[in-house]
Chain length 306, copies 2
């Protein structure tokens, strides 16, 4: 099995390195960090124990990489259209692409570009950050849920999950659409609210006004999911997510980091797309739509100042 990793940052480099450490044949694409990693390899500082890979298969362009059996895509979704060119040299009939990306609609859009591609959804539950070129700080968690989107041979997804678990990554199989909407219950409120109020998860839940607002936003996602026929997403799940977040170390979601560094935020797949999908079946999400507008305004302001 040949693995490719596209987007070798906080998430991609972490999972890829774990696979390398377990003896898998993994090939990483880098952009800005290419030269550094080529010379120094990757270092993972982890709550489960640090480790280094002094020499890895690092590439600057995908046309130099081998054809892959599995391509792990862990890019931010802000320039999703680049996948058309980046993925082409890596995939043949039978290649499985695992999209470890935020939001709803990424699988559907990639399938439009590559109608025959076999795609799986990856939902990572991980707190990690790239702190320097080639250096990832894995703070906690790390499990991944994987759902089949368009893989004709289900056993391929099962094998991928086996490889992950054998590499010490807790991986489980899920129904992809249910998993995407469940993750949206957490992602939609917390990503945007942390930007809008410059606050971490703990601060947002410590004030009754914002705790209630986040609950109402979560219930908007639940309402949309139920209208779409998604199962196991209900009020009980909302309370479970709130309780889980209260017990977490105070956390700034990835969108807050993008905002702080004046990078493009993943507004489209985290907000615009699910709001559109819900509206098509007659369900409005007024609070999350308001949050989307706030984020668009703030992003336009700092991008135009750059």
């Amino acid at each position: 099995m040949i693995y490719g990793v596209i987007g070798s940052g906080a998430v991609g480099a972490y999972y890829g390195s774990k696979l390398v450490k377990a003896g898998n044949d993994v090939h990483f694409l880098f952009h800005n960090d290419y030269q550094y990693v080529k010379e120094n390899g990757l270092t993972i500082k982890s709550c489960d124990g640090d480790f280094s890979l002094p020499k890895i298969n690092a590439y600057y362009k995908t046309s130099d990489m081998p054809i892959c059996d599995v391509v792990i895509v862990a890019l931010k979704t802000v320039n999703q259209d680049v996948l058309r060119n980046i993925l082409s040299p890596l995939v043949v009939n039978g290649t499985l692409v695992l999209l470890i990306q935020n939001g709803i609609g990424v699988e559907e859009d990639l399938q439009k570009i590559f109608p025959n591609l076999e795609i799986a959804a990856g939902l990572a539950f991980i707190c990690s950050a790239k702190i320097n070129p080639g250096i990832v700080n894995h703070q906690c968690y790390g499990s991944i849920n994987i759902g089949n989107f368009s893989c004709k041979d289900e056993s391929k997804v099962d094998n991928l999950i086996s490889d992950f678990n054998a590499a010490g990554i807790s991986a489980a199989k899920v129904e992809y659409y249910e998993a995407r909407w469940k993750k949206a219950v957490w992602n939609m409120p917390f990503n945007g609210m942390s930007v809008a109020l410059n606050a971490n998860t703990h601060q947002l839940l410590s004030h009754s006004a914002t705790e209630n607002l986040i609950r109402l936003q979560m219930l908007e996602v639940v309402g949309a999911a139920q209208k779409l026929g998604v199962k196991n997403v209900d009020e009980l799940f909302v309370e479970k997510m709130l309780q889980m977040t209260r017990e977490m170390t105070p956390y700034f979601p990835s969108m807050k980091l993008d905002f702080d560094f004046k990078r493009k935020m993943e507004i489209y797949y985290i907000y615009t797309r699910p709001i559109e999908i819900a509206r098509k079946v007659g369900f409005e999400m007024p609070r999350l739509q308001m949050l989307e507008s706030i984020l668009k305004f703030q992003q336009a302001k700092y991008l135009s100042n750059n």
Copy 2:
């Protein structure tokens, strides 16, 4: 006619000074600025021409003031309960109190404290700011709409309006509840959004996402007003308000100034109360309720840091 002015700031001192200049007998209550004004009087820098009143009737407590025929209350609504003590020495049977205050519910609450008081609502359309003790900068506009709330003798309200017009203040008679809700159509979106996004009216309307959000927020106020049976508040009025705001000089609403100076914001009467009133008749304002939560969170943060 003896006039009292409670809250002699950007609005109260402006209208009071115009009344003095026109020959009326006006008595002003001051707090922090008392000593300065006692010695130096009031100065109005105005788009209509500057003027000074070197000597005015200035007081530090209402028990030293004469009983008034009309009391103009132009205090912020953040400590509305102080009116119980402040107003008592000034009012007798027959005194008319004009509440030039923001929000919805101020007349009703004051009436509960003083069941026999005769109350009128004042809605000021004015851009002014106190720039120093005793010095008001009146930038533009200045008209006032006055609506009878509980004055048994309608001619008293008419006489008040005549006095204002004779003093060069453009004053018109309106239906108080309609006027309060019409003003809320502008106040509820712009006050909070200018705080939430650190932006003036022009910036908020320059971006399509926030322009649309503000329209949706205005329509929430319209929906509530219509459900309450208020007349002449409709979609056409919303477009008129948007157009009027586009044509205005870029403006930071008063709540933004309160926020910048870390003062308490008028969240209760501008947001909480109208939201409650609408909910009682079965109408939800999700976007404005979200804005209320955002403001409460932000205020709690800076007040706890003080």
